[in-house]
């Protein structure tokens, strides 16, 4: 009996990050690391604001669905944890550079 070998098929990212890197758009090439970082921080901040707003709306009775508020809070939590991990990595890299012998 012939058994096909198992092949690992890579997951394709459709439209978001990978494609924008491959595109030879002059504007994309100029995107600085600090811009990317501040955009990501803005997104995280937006999620935090959404969570806060949904909590207030829930307390005020504007939201009928409890899950809506809870999920907004969860999203904010996950995004903040991701931000903290990125920050830790950046601080690690900085300290690594500072430890370099001159």
């Amino acid at each position: 009996m012939k058994v096909d070998s198992l092949l690992l098929s890579p997951v394709k990212l459709q439209n978001t990050i990978m494609d924008s890197n491959n595109v030879k758009d002059p504007n994309e090439q100029k995107l600085k690391f600090s811009d990317v970082l501040s955009n990501a921080l803005n997104d995280v901040n937006q999620l935090q604001l959404n969570a806060q707003r949904s909590s207030v709306d829930l307390a005020a009775g504007k939201i009928q669905d409890i899950s809506e508020a809870v999920i907004a809070t969860e999203k904010a939590t996950i995004a903040l944890q991701l931000t903290m991990q990125v920050r830790n990595k950046i601080v690690d890299a900085y300290q690594e550079v500072m430890r370099m012998q001159v």
Binding site: K12, Q14, N15, T16, I17, N39, A40, D43, V44, Q46, D65, S67, E68, I71, E74, K75, I78, A79, Q81, L82, Q85
Partner: protein
């Protein structure tokens, strides 16, 4: 937003939770009106049912093509329909709504099937909560890489 990609699973499960909550509302309304023989539009109350459909957020051709290789974005409530089956007839000659033969038209609601539907809605809601928790755990586990 760059980071929204990791929330697809959570968004889909959240839409499922909203849909099941609406279904629960409708079932509660059915149970509450199981004995209502009058409505605003006349006749007895008719059983209501929710209709769900898979949600696709594609509007352009490119998005539809991209969706062939990606998951959808949850569930959407198409509408609340009325069960058109015949009303139940109950012999109750003294009731003001009884007809000449003494029968009263009662809603076409079987309380047992409504209870079963309610249990289904509860379990489906729980399943969506589990999916949210699993997606969250996956995201948080990924953050533990390299620690």
């Amino acid at each position: 937003m760059i980071i929204m990609g990791i929330f697809n699973a959570i968004d889909a499960a959240a839409s499922g939770m909203s849909a099941e909550r609406l279904r629960m509302d409708v079932i509660s309304n059915n149970i509450a009106n199981a004995n209502s023989s009058r409505t605003a539009e006349g006749g007895p109350y008719r059983r209501q049912m929710v209709v769900f459909e898979a949600r696709a957020n594609a509007s352009s051709f490119a998005q539809i093509m991209a969706q062939q290789q990606s998951a959808g974005s949850g569930v959407r409530v198409t509408g609340i329909m009325k069960d058109q089956s015949a009303p139940r007839l109950v012999y109750d000659p003294n009731h003001p709504d009884a007809n000449k033969e003494g029968y009263r038209e009662m809603p076409n609601i079987n309380i047992i099937s409504e209870m079963v539907d309610m249990m289904t809605a509860t379990r489906a809601y729980e399943a969506n909560v589990t999916a949210v928790n699993a997606a969250k755990n996956m995201a948080l586990k990924a953050l533990e890489i390299g620690q």
